[in-house]
Each structure stands twice: as structure tokens, then as C-alpha cells.
Symmetry: C2
Amino acid sequence: MPSAVRTGLRRPERPAINPLRLLLFGRPIPTEHQEHTKLPKIVALPVFASDAISSVAYATQQIILVLAAAGLWTSEHKELYSRLTLNVTAAIILLLAIVVVSYWQVIFAFPGGGGSYIVTRTSLGINFGLVAGAALLIDYVLTVAVSIAAGVQNLLATPLLNRFSDHTVEVCLLFIVGLTLANLRGLKESGTVFAIPTYLFVTMASTMILLGAFGPFIGWEIHADAVNREMPEFARRPPLDLAGYGIVLLVLKAFANGCAAMTGTEAISDTVPAFREPVSRNAGITLIWMAAILAFLFMGISYLSANLHIVYWEVGHSRAMPVIDQLSAAVFGKTGSPFRVGLYYVMQFSTTIILVLAANTSFAGFPTLASIMSRDRLLPRQLANRGDKLVYSNGIVLLGLAAALLVVAFRGSVEGLIPLYAVGVFTAFTLSQGGMCKRWLTQRGPRWRVKFAINFVGTCATAIVLTIIAVEKGPEGAWIVLFVGAALVWLFRGINRHYERCRRDLSIINFKPDTSDITNTVLLLVPTLHRGIFPALQYARSLSPDCRAIHVEDNPDDTPRLVREWDEYVGDEIPLVILPSPYRSLIGPLLTYLNEVRRERDDHIVTVIVPEFDPGKWYHAALHNANGFLVKHYLGHLPGVIVSNFRYHPNRMRTENGSANNGN
Amino acid sequence: MPSAVRTGLRRPERPAINPLRLLLFGRPIPTEHQEHTKLPKIVALPVFASDAISSVAYATQQIILVLAAAGLWTSEHKELYSRLTLNVTAAIILLLAIVVVSYWQVIFAFPGGGGSYIVTRTSLGINFGLVAGAALLIDYVLTVAVSIAAGVQNLLATPLLNRFSDHTVEVCLLFIVGLTLANLRGLKESGTVFAIPTYLFVTMASTMILLGAFGPFIGWEIHADAVNREMPEFARRPPLDLAGYGIVLLVLKAFANGCAAMTGTEAISDTVPAFREPVSRNAGITLIWMAAILAFLFMGISYLSANLHIVYWEVGHSRAMPVIDQLSAAVFGKTGSPFRVGLYYVMQFSTTIILVLAANTSFAGFPTLASIMSRDRLLPRQLANRGDKLVYSNGIVLLGLAAALLVVAFRGSVEGLIPLYAVGVFTAFTLSQGGMCKRWLTQRGPRWRVKFAINFVGTCATAIVLTIIAVEKGPEGAWIVLFVGAALVWLFRGINRHYERCRRDLSIINFKPDTSDITNTVLLLVPTLHRGIFPALQYARSLSPDCRAIHVEDNPDDTPRLVREWDEYVGDEIPLVILPSPYRSLIGPLLTYLNEVRRERDDHIVTVIVPEFDPGKWYHAALHNANGFLVKHYLGHLPGVIVSNFRYHPNRMRTENGSANNGN
């Protein structure tokens, strides 16, 4: 008969939950309810592309910011400003095309899902995998911070909510807390929740672009005066010398800044198995759709901005209205007919919502990646625990905290966060493309030369862009990401080393357990003699025949009374040991005595029992000492010493003793 | 033979201290080193009077603030302004004289030290005692906050440090942290440390007053243009109508504000035993000296301010230079000859230092009062513990935290804190004087009628002033003190009730302890089978013959392997109980099973042993679960359940096992 018995709890109790927890997180979900949904393309597109598409809400603004600061905001530079905006946008779209074709191949090569971490680890080995993992984790955090900051910037730019614009950081934190709680509750990535706002945003933004471009021909008036064309005095800087080399630097800087548009492109290749069969084909088609929509919106918004000669600037806390707000005000209208004002608000709210959804995709991606890396023993194992709602709760909380920290540190500024963003994104791109190149070289399947060429172009393009970004944005904050990334890689290695050592040391392979009997010396701490001590004494005697009471003498004046009472109530059966404590410390004398006891014999264990008042109500704990905690903290880690708390409760003492007396 | 044995540790080890702790707090002091110094009057004066004397640094400013805000800052009101300043100052000095005579009697009636709490509790009963205790505790905190804020205001007003004036709060916190650490180190209230700056301040302030008043006659030039005579546009308010009733209100308001000068007057009567014999006489004489110095400096500063027609204002964060700084700049000089600038800096620095010393007196008073009230079972008993350095460490930390909180909440504004200050001071005055009246009525010693009359005048005067202050300053913030005071009294009562109940319930008077044997069921949690489990099993078996291993099934896929390994390595001796956990919770199934086990028998105890990884390095703890803590938190409070952690250490496992194997 095997010794294992499965207990007869057929219908295990639902865990009792306190009301606050229930309200915040809802009922727990049993493990068996785990499900795997397969999404049709029309639903998968908004679910996985919201991150990428939402980047158009800040990408053009990033380009304009650089050009305006260089002095191109004045009307005599209008033409150069317009040409540079459109060319830089076109260059980024070209880069997007290269990356998309590369990822097309990833999707077919990894139908099980080829996130950069997995592709890199599989193809380039664990060391590059760690770099990719670090880059991705950082980017998930930045996706939340940047998307929420941009969404809140647009939201608070509307006349309706403008009065809260001094509280950008607080509103951002509100959104982050909301997303964290929603995801801890096990928010379903249900198609509808994503589909409606994403398609609404695409429709509204397309309408805005088309009306902005062709409206005048059909009699739709553009409020060209609603946009900002002036750089305020305090924001002006001496204009750059644009002759020769200067313009190259300017274009590179604008390009590096605009590359924020590329974030989120890899999302579909991470989640191929979520598509319907044939998964790779469907995922690939969705990827192309996504890229097309992104390119159209990005180019359209850049075109309108160039055409209207919008100026964006940011100095310290003072910022221009976001570009999307300015365009929306010009094409629809902040004032005037209710219909046009209504369209303006729909546009602005849908911008905010798609940005919040983009942040939400990180709340799915980050905990999943963290749990994969945790199972690879690179992150603390708690990150692989599923919480009440079957989600990786610890990862969700960690992401929320990190994003909140970033938003506070950068005071909710999109422009401050963007330089940090692109480094990680392009590191992951480059490594994942490089991994694909290695793969083709090794596997050499049919038409491997073409496939290699495509990924090689992708690798080179993204590596060059990564270099540009690191050089151009390094001083502005990208160095933080490089530093944090390096620290993360170092941390992964340390964690891995620790877990591997534990596993080796604890392994039972070829292990002969020691099953000899051990002796146990029980020490019961007795500060004063009160009713709570007696049950503790009963318990102590039940554990071992060698049982001693220990009194650490805080105040020598109290000792005679204790000795007298001990003689009267307990007697000789259990000896009372008095330890003088000239420095009024509990731990010092106890430690000295413990070492003495351990020297008496070398084959035994010492159990220290600390009687502890059970506060009953949590706030009563503040009224009693924390000796149990202290003893455990200082002595519990000694080899062969077990610290155990015996809790007594005054009320219960009375009744327990009453019944015991009746029994006699 | 008594069962108590005093252990043979004749030379107890000095507690080991970590280097950071040593650096911050120094070496611990044994209890026997406690000492009681007796101070001569010339040293006692600076030690106990720095608090009272330092009030002149902000008292005049408080009067001027009210008068200027009422519109008296304009030159046509110069005469009225001057008259009111001097009259209000004189009225406060008269009140001071009344209070000092009353305290003279306290000193002789309570030669053992008559703090308001003790006088009130002894004479008027515990209920009034609680109110006095609350008022005093609040005032100690406010003394720290106000003194530090005023000291830093003067310090940062000097041209040398003016550049830090945007960081008032941070500098205040620096001082509070410094004082807290110094007092935790067991700062000696050594005479010299107090004497030099106090006498220096008195000398400098007297010199300033005399030079300011008589300098012109001996050819000392006053820089009358260095003071501030203009109220800035944004700070102006419509002038009050001063006809009839208006001026009465104004005077009352100025009087209530200026009463901040009275703080600290009771300090000497609290600490009579610290004086040389005859204690009461010496303390009384010191009290008179202190009052004389205080009165002279206060009147002198008010006279100079009125004479130079200084204006002080404060609106939001923007403040005028403090009055002491303005006077010092006028009489000595911020610019000009190095000698005069030197005098200016000595004056300003000695002002800051005496204010810091005043704050420091609270660090002696607050923890002592808290420890007395703690021994009276009105505050948590931890406040009566002496730390390594024989000081009441917990009280010191509590005071530092509370003062820091106040400074942050009021952004380091003296004017913001002052309204809170006087309420508590005068509550304590009134109660202590009232207590003395009651005492004379009850005891009726020689000349009791005269003594009663003196304290009765004192009671009435302080009670009237208390009413004025409560009415005038109530809306400005004094209500906070009334509210916190009431909350404290309520808290004292609750704490007292709790301790009294505990004492009753735990008392062993007429108690017959139950000494019957108990049985113990030991449950050992086994998440997986690894080397750390085997010593835990040995230990569990040593505790009781009824010993069971419990596996809470987080992932059912792992169970077969565990059962197989259990059969192979442990066998039937100890049964393995598998508890299914559909919600992935550790606690739920454990709780269900525990209740089952407790129903098996009703006379026994269940010991739950949680094997816990011993992190070795503290940061390794983050890499392992905290199940020991969770189990203890959720199950440890159940009656008859003891939760015990068995720590294992991978490295140690290997060596221990090695030696055990050698033994076989």
C-alpha cells in the first residue's frame, strides 16, 4: 500500500475571501477553467495591433518637436519643414516595411509564437536571449508609461478636462492603477472590448486625414487658425546652421525620434497560436493589414501636420497642445457647431482609449514573458505563480509599479519617456532578426538564401537604426535603458546561478537520507509568570523531556518575585534559568546561552518557544512587544535552532482554564 | 533547592553590533551606568531655559504679522502700530509674571518634579491628567517643529545660505533627523553644549537691543533702510476698520499670536530634582532669572521693531525676511565692514543654534513623559523600553517622525504652525494651575490662602488666554490640536482598558494551572521532496508519534512523482496526505484539513511545521516563497495550532548530510 493518501475532501471549500478583496478582484477561478481562445483575423487585428497603431498618436509629434526646436517653426522655413517631415515619415515607413517582411518570416518559422526572447534564445543562445529578455521587459514597462502619458496628454487637452492639466501625473497613476486592478481581476482580452475602440480610432483618424486633405474641395471648412504656429519666446533656441552637415544631424535626430512609431510591430509574431488555422497564414495577413493601417495613418497625420505647419514644443512643464489635438481641432473643431465639436471629442476620446488599450497589451505580455523567464530560472519563481484569477498576479503588480515609477520620475512627459523607448524596441528587433539569419544559415531549408537575405536586410536596417538612436538619444535618457538593461542581464545571471545551486544542493538523486532519531532541547522564554505561560509549558513538556524555562533579566528587581512564583506554581519539574542582561538586550544573553546548550551535545536540535500575545484585533499588536519576531529574526537562522511561537489569548485563557478546572 | 538557577555567565558578552548601527548610534551602555547629574544654577539655566528664551526669536514677529496684515504697515499708522506692538508685548510679559509666580509655587510643592501631567493627575484626577498629557505630548512635537522651522528660517535668510531658501522643508528635515540620531546615540545634556550657545544668544540679542536703542548716541550707525517697510502689492488686504470693536479684536488676535513667547516656561518646574540642593530654592531662582531674561529680550526686540517700523508678512510660500534677521541686518549689517557683517552672522547663527537646542529639549521631555504615561498603562509599553544607550529610543523616534510630518504638512512655515502651538501650552498651564488650586483647598497648609490666591489668579489668567487663543486661532488651525488632543485622550483610555483587561485575564492570583499531559499532532508541509525535507522529517518525528506529511497540490501533474519518491525515500512510516487545491491556494485546503484534524480529538495541539529555505543572504529571500509567513499569518492565530518554521540551507544540507553519512 502506498503511504500517500488522497484526503477525502471531494468538494473542497471555496477559499474564504474578505469583502475588500472580493470587491477589488472578484471571485477566484479554479485551475480547470483555463481556456484557449482562437481569434478570427478581424478580432485579432484590434487585439494585437492596438499597440502598434496607437503609436501614430505620438510619432509625428516626435518628428515635429525636433524640427521646430531647430528653428524650422518660422514661416520662412515652411517648405523645408514640410519636406523634412514627409521624408522622415516616409523613411520610417520604409523601415517598417522591411521589419514587417522580416517578421512575416518569423511568423512562419515559429508558428508556436516567436517573441524576440524565444527566437533569440533558440537561435543565438542564452546570452543574447538574456539581452533580448531585458530589452523586452523594459519595453513593456515603457509601453505602459508612454501610452498612458500620451493618452492622458490628449485627454487633458480637451476643453472639457483641461482644468485637470496640472494633475497629469495623478491622472496617469489613476489609469495605471485601474489597468493593474482590471488585469488582476483577470480582464478577458475579449474581442469586442478591443475591436470597437480600435476600429473607431482607425475610422476617426482616417476621416480626419481625408477631411483634412480633401475637405476644402467638398466645402468642409478647416479651422487653420486653431493650430499652434508660434514658438513662445521662452522656448526659442538659436536656430541650427542647416548648411551641410547640420541638416544631416537634424534628419537623423528626427528619424530617431520618429522611430517611436515602430513600437508594437512584433506583437503579432509573439502570439501566432492565438490565430485560427492556418495560424501562420492568418497571422501574416493580419500583420500586413496592421502595417498598412499604421503606414496610412502615420503618413496622413504627418501630411496634415506639414500642410497646416503645426508647431509643437515642450520646455520643462510647459507644453504645446498635442499634435493630434491640434489636428482634430482644425479639421473637426473645439468650438462651433455641436456636430463638429462632437466629432472632435469622439476623435480625442478614441485616441485616449486606443492608447490605454495599447498599455493594456503590456499587461498581457509582460507577465507572460516574466513567467517564461521565471520558469527558465532567470527571474524569481513567484513570477510564475498564477493568482486567484489564473493570471500571473505578481508580474502584473510589478509592471504596474515600474510604470508608475517611470511616470512619476518623468512627470508624465511623453517627450521625456520616448528617448528611453526606442532603444529597447530596436535592440529586440535586431536580435530577433539576427537570430533568424543564424537560423537560416544553420537549417538551410528550401529557398533559404532568399529568406536569409530578407532577414539580413532587416538585421542591418534595425542595427543601423539602433546605432542612430543610441547615439542621438543616448544623452537624452537612452543611457538609462542601457544601464538598466545591463543591470537586468547581470540580475538574470545571478538569479540563475542561485537557483541552479539550490537545485544541485537539494537534489535527492543518489541521496541516502539520515533517519536516525534526534534529541530535542526545548527552551521556553518566560518574561513574567502569567496564565498564558501554563499552556505553553504543557506544550513544551509534550515536545521533549529536556525542557527548560528561560528568563532574560531585563530588570533585576523583578527576578525574586518570578523565582518565588515559579516555585509556587511550577516547582522543580521544569528548571528556570535566569540570564542576566546588563545591556537590556533580549537577544544577546539568549544567543550566549543557546551556544552553550548546543555545545552540551552535538546531535540535537534546540527548539526555542516564544510565548506571544495573540492580539485578537490587529491594532492591539501595537500594544505588545514583538519578541517573537525578534527572536526568530536573530536566532532562527542558526543551524539546529527552531524558533516557534506559542500564541496565547487572554480571553481564551480564562475560558480554557475554567473548563480545565471543571474537569479536575 | 529552588528550581531557579542563575546561569554562570559572569562576564556576559557585549552584544555584537553591525558596523552601520555602531556608526550611527555608538556602543551600547550597560544599565548600571545610569547616572543622575546635579546641575548648578549657571548651567541649569541654559539647559532648561533655552526653550523659553528661544521663543523671543519668533514672538515679536507673530505680533507684527497680525498688525501689518490689518493695514498698520503704512506710514500714517506708524504711531498706532508702535503703541500696539509695545502694549501687547507688555501684556504678555505681565501674563508671564503671573505664570512664573504660579510655577514658583509648583516648584516648592513638587520638589520631585511637577510636570503638568503629574500635577494634574495628582490633584484633579486621571481624567484631567489625560488631557494634560495629551496637551503636553502635542506641545513637545510642536516645540520641535516650530523651533526648527524658525531656526531654519533665520539660517536661510542669511546671504550666505539664501540660495537654499527654496529647500526650507528639506533643511528642516535634515535638522530633525540629526537631532533624532544624536538623541538615539544618548546625547548628554552636558552643560557646556547648552551653556555656550544660550549665553552667546542672550549676549548677542542684548547687544543688538542696546546698540539698536542707544547706538546712535555713541555714533553707531543703524542701517534703517535694511528693514522691510513695504507690504508687497499681492499681500495687501483691505485695512480693518479700527474704530471701536475692530481694534479690540485686533489686539486680542495679536495677543493670542504673541503668546507663543510663553512656551517652555514650565520646563524648570518639570525637572526640579536636577538642581543642586536646596533643589526648590535653586530651581525657583533659576526660574526668575529665566523670566527676567525672556522679558527683557522680548520687550527689547518689540521695541526695536516698533521703532524701526518693521513689516512682516507671509502669503502662501512667499515670506518677508524674519524679524530677527531684519533687526540684525539693521543694527549689525548684512553688508559693509567685515566686523559688522561678522556680528550679523554670529547673531543669526546663535539664533539658529538656540532654536535647535530648544527643539532638543523636547527630545528629552517627550520620551520621558511618554515613558511615564506608558508605565501608567496609557501608552504602548514599548515606549518605556530603554534602548542600547539607556534612552527611550521608541519615544525619540516617535517624536522625530511626528515633528517631521508636521514640518512637511506645513511646508516649514512658522506662521502655519504657531496657531497649533499655543492651545496646547495654555491647556497645560491652566490644568496645572487649576490642580494647584485644588491642592491648596484640600491640603490647607500654612498660608494656604495666599498660595491659593496666587494659583487662582494664574488659573484664571491662563484660562482666559486659552479661551482667547481657541477663539482667535481656532479657524486657523488650532482646531487640529483640539481634534488630535481629543483623539489622544480617547486612545489613552482604549489602551488603558486593553492593558487592564490583559492584566486581569493573565493574573495568576487564585489560579490553578492545568498540568495534565497533552497530545500533539505534527503536520509537516512537503511541497516537493528535496534534501531539506529529511532533517525536517527527523525533527517532526522527534516531536510526536502522530506525525503526518501534508502536500497541498498546486499542480496535480507533479503529484505522481512526489508519491513515487515518497515511497522510495521515506516509506510508510510517515503518511503523506495529498490535499487537492483547485484554486491554487495553499491556505484554503490546509485550513479545511486542520479543522478536520482538530475534530479527531479535543484535548490536543496541532503543530504545523513549514520547511523554509534559509536565504543565507537577505536578498536571496526575494527568490523564494514566503509560505512560512503566510501559514503563520493565516493559521497561527487558531486556538491550539502552533506554526513552526524549519529552516534548511542548501549548502549546509550537503555538509551535514556528508558527516551524517560518514557516521553510518
